[in-house]
Symmetry: D2
């Protein structure tokens, strides 16, 4: 089963060219990751601060087409590479059905409240690999 | 002596009408307040987390003209009303010399790390009233 | 019938105090206005650029309580004052049921593509006063 | 001669972990590119809308350390790969002297006002390769 998150670009997020400014895609993918973790059974406001936490260490974004104000943006989230202390999420976004942006984001598992890397918790690893 | 902070709107902050989106003015005034506190001798990254902290409880913004990408925005900051546990800062912004936006923001003094109101510290009160 | 828009603050919108940074409320209210106009029969991406447009000239915001990451924020939108060339929308936001923020925003009707004020179009006036 | 742009993270840009939220780095690099083009003799507010324009098609970001509120962030901008219709800018950011973030951003030259790719203008190519 694949997870898809829908959102509509806000007026404030569209630039003078009429398209979503590039930085907002990282925020959209972060919002999609919030819903993705929630969907897997890890409500982020609880899970991230009490049980585990992650830090973003790398992001690769490629734009394939524009998204405009109030368009229907659909973001599919899947787990890519799974390592011992880190993993990749792959975000594939369409806008009104046309390719818009693909992002691969690398997360390192850290001890909550610190910047110290640690093994990806077993429950999270299992959920991500399902 | 009057404090003036200069900034240039970022490309990302200008909307499809070619003007700075309204919400960014609150961020600009917050940036101006950071430099204003620093100028008074309270470097914010230290002062706010160790010695005192404030919460914004009210903001009144009036727009008088537009600001565009990379324009010269000048923001004058003065202290308006001074109360026991709160005070107002007044931000008067021009863009390339023409009136742009006026904001009056009310700050409540809180115990650092809490949401509990407390008296405005004496050193801060003195500096604001000079 | 009252219009209510729900949203959840993004991780990126919460500051180091753990609460939504003040400027984002103007963006939230703008998002709520987009859905409010859509609900009244004016899909914003079409209506605003082809039929009518508005400019924000004043905003008054009062905060009554915090909102945190991924909380349920509910924003009720009603029309306040209705003038010839301008009108106010009143946004009343709760967070997890508790009062959070009230905003009154004044919009001036402008000729699309310009900054020239004009009478509020009849269809919009009728819808707002219902 | 190397171009360096300095900025200080705003309070609004720092998240609950006390570090700049990842998406803002794309905005910082965009701000640095604005000043970089200006420094080369292409004031962006004029050059981009009248003479040439660019679209971002790819961004690769790697984080090496955190940046916090009001820290001194220094961003060095250089031209990486130069193609016929596109080029890369490389942004190397330090925070208080320590490595913070490296970004490689690919820009495609487009006909102003359109999304049609075109050759990088000669004057821009020459300036970038100096």
């Amino acid at each position: 089963m694949t997870f898809v998150h829908h959102l509509r670009p806000r007026y404030a997020e569209v630039d003078v060219q009429g398209v979503v400014f590039n930085a907002h895609w990282l925020t959209y993918f972060d919002e999609a990751s919030t819903r993705f973790f929630d969907w897997m059974g890890f409500p982020p406001a609880v899970a991230f601060f009490e049980h585990f936490d992650v830090m973003v260490v790398k992001a690769v974004l490629e734009w394939e087409g524009p998204a405009g104000f109030d368009d229907d943006v659909a973001i599919t989230v899947t787990c890519g590479r799974m390592g011992t202390k880190s993993f990749d999420l792959v975000f594939t976004a369409t806008c009104e059905g046309a390719p818009a942006c693909v992002g691969t984001i690398t997360y390192v598992s850290v001890v909550p409240g610190t910047h110290d890397s640690t093994e990806v918790p077993g429950a999270l690893r299992t959920a991500l690999q399902d």
